[in-house]
Symmetry: C2
Subunit: 419 residues, 2 copies
Amino acid sequence: MTTTSRTVAEICRAARDASALLASAGTTRKNQALAAMAKGLVDRTEWLMAENAKDMAAARVKGLSPAMLDRLALTDDRIRQMAAGIQEVIALPDPVGEIEKMGSRPNGLLVGKMRIPLGVIGIIYESRPNVTADAAALCVKSGNAVVLRGGSEAIHSNSAIAHVLRAALADAGFDMDAVAIIENTDRAAIDELLVQVETVDLIIPRGGEGLIRSVVEKSRIPVIKHYKGVCHSYVDEDADVAQAVAVCVNAKAQRPGVCNAMETLLVHERIAPLFLPAVAEAMRAAGVELRGCPETVRLLPDTAAATPEDWDTEYLDLILSVKIVPSMDEAMAHIRRHGSLHTEAILTQNHARAMRFIREVDASLVLVNASTRFNDGFQLGLGAEIGISTTKLHAFGPMGLSELTTTKFIAFGDGQIRN
Amino acid sequence: MTTTSRTVAEICRAARDASALLASAGTTRKNQALAAMAKGLVDRTEWLMAENAKDMAAARVKGLSPAMLDRLALTDDRIRQMAAGIQEVIALPDPVGEIEKMGSRPNGLLVGKMRIPLGVIGIIYESRPNVTADAAALCVKSGNAVVLRGGSEAIHSNSAIAHVLRAALADAGFDMDAVAIIENTDRAAIDELLVQVETVDLIIPRGGEGLIRSVVEKSRIPVIKHYKGVCHSYVDEDADVAQAVAVCVNAKAQRPGVCNAMETLLVHERIAPLFLPAVAEAMRAAGVELRGCPETVRLLPDTAAATPEDWDTEYLDLILSVKIVPSMDEAMAHIRRHGSLHTEAILTQNHARAMRFIREVDASLVLVNASTRFNDGFQLGLGAEIGISTTKLHAFGPMGLSELTTTKFIAFGDGQIRN
């Protein structure tokens, strides 16, 4: 644990200094480092499990729930999965050095944009220890140094994983400080990280809404954030009923505890008498509780009445609010008022309305005739995901390797001057 | 001045509400609004000049310098130039609705990224009143609402221009609140703007370093900023001397008061005995004062010695610091320490070093054998420029219409669900 005695500012400065070599390294060298990281995790499985046992013991004393304990636990199998995750990152194309839009200006200057790393990325997380390895691998592949700050409940596990990754990085000829970990578990250490404007380029918080709001409130460094997903599916009057039922049940019930699950179903009044009984039956078969607007309750008398709060609630559970609307305009107005810019879907066979919904609805993913559950970096083809952004600046939606980079302008001349 | 009585929060909320119509408008309709804005400015020339006269009178009482008075003045010709600037924006391609990277996923889901407006952009500026029209035109064309907050010295001019633009917008069938102006000239009004996180998506400050640092310090909204340009040209041992002299003189002296002018010249020691006397003669002929490192002073005895502060100074004047370096690595190390991520150039005929400089130097524009003065949205082919970003997130370098937009994911399915 070589970083323990350093201040947060010193850790970030060391990461900044280490970032230059990583930024200019070719793909082969970065992949060699990633392979060493994956191998290191597997080789040190016993030690990692021993360190994890300290966290597990402390968590039991604290009385953490079985679900929380399960999230925290490192097993032989989970460590192999972490290593396999790094192998998948090795297989992804390297965005760094890609040149876009190269073209000649009238004076002969050849101008293009070259993709480059952001520099140093701070990741603040409170979830499973595997985030330590996943985030480090994505940052290394995209040529960025990373400063990791995990939750206190996983401190021994996170430190041990980082220790292994850092040693592998050094073995591969890089400066180990390019993967740094803040082992100070005080909240004050986060506050200190959030003001390192000279050395850290981006902060990505991963965790509950409380953590994220607190990071946004205090950070002087740009933050890419994701508060919540209140996702809608709108079943248009021209929907294919059987298809819409299947897609909506998938959107709600396939994995209800995640941000891209549907929370509210909007149904055009003309299709409601046909569609609602069918979807209600399928939803109830999937264990979903419905909460309806007055018109929904009239058509489905067994349904509980929705309260005004329901329309703004991310249930993350097998609960669905249902509202009948007189038009697509009303559905889009409801989404504007209650949506969270995350994922919105329309179910329709009408081309004009599908295209208008795609154009006008403001969300990081807008779908036609498909489940909201597709808002995911792997599903959308990014190959990896470090998070989903619901703010529009820099990245909107799932963030893969490319979203951990930016572009600089490059220009090749032969003596051009300005007049 | 219809917005005077509203609070900043109300102005931003109205801009947010007005932004939806602008975001979904086609290019033709937006261009019609821009044409009405340009015509409105010309039609109301007399009134605009009368309002400007109030600012001019107040500025004379305050004792503003002749240069400042000149910047503030609106003439018949300058109003026509503002209108012509809007006509140029009409001629630019509309980035909104462009679809990138559309492709099929293995399950048949057709996934792409569609370019969309950011939403509401706050522009805080202290310069010439023409920024009011320029910024509004770029925001309208890119489908964004804008909240303008100009300096107190130009309040009557800015308000009058905004009044004309708003009336034109309404005539063209848009909500005039999509171009909003904050007429409260207290600093507190800026502070209030900077916390409107629910309604404003981006803040762009344009002005001196003091204004920008204060905005960054206080803003809870993402800021795209540009502090200063300490730009270097590195003359490699394999430079073409005559070409390097011409390019360096252009970089320094063609317009010394701007951010992309060269401030420091780095010269390889092997070419220094040949290059330095030649460039010194040309620089002195252009009125440039040189300040050199000890080795430079030895080669050019008439040169003043540079102090350590010189290497970090943005002169914005006919002054140039000169340093002799033993290698390109030393030149790049100097740029890392003293550069501002703005513009860096190498002069060389050596291909390998040119490519390494392009790859490894960290700046929003890196050039080979061309003047640093090319870091400009028009020169690099963006067609327009709302500012130059020296931070890497979202945009790095000159920002045109495309940089005022983002992308959302779109997906066309035929019933796809996740397993």
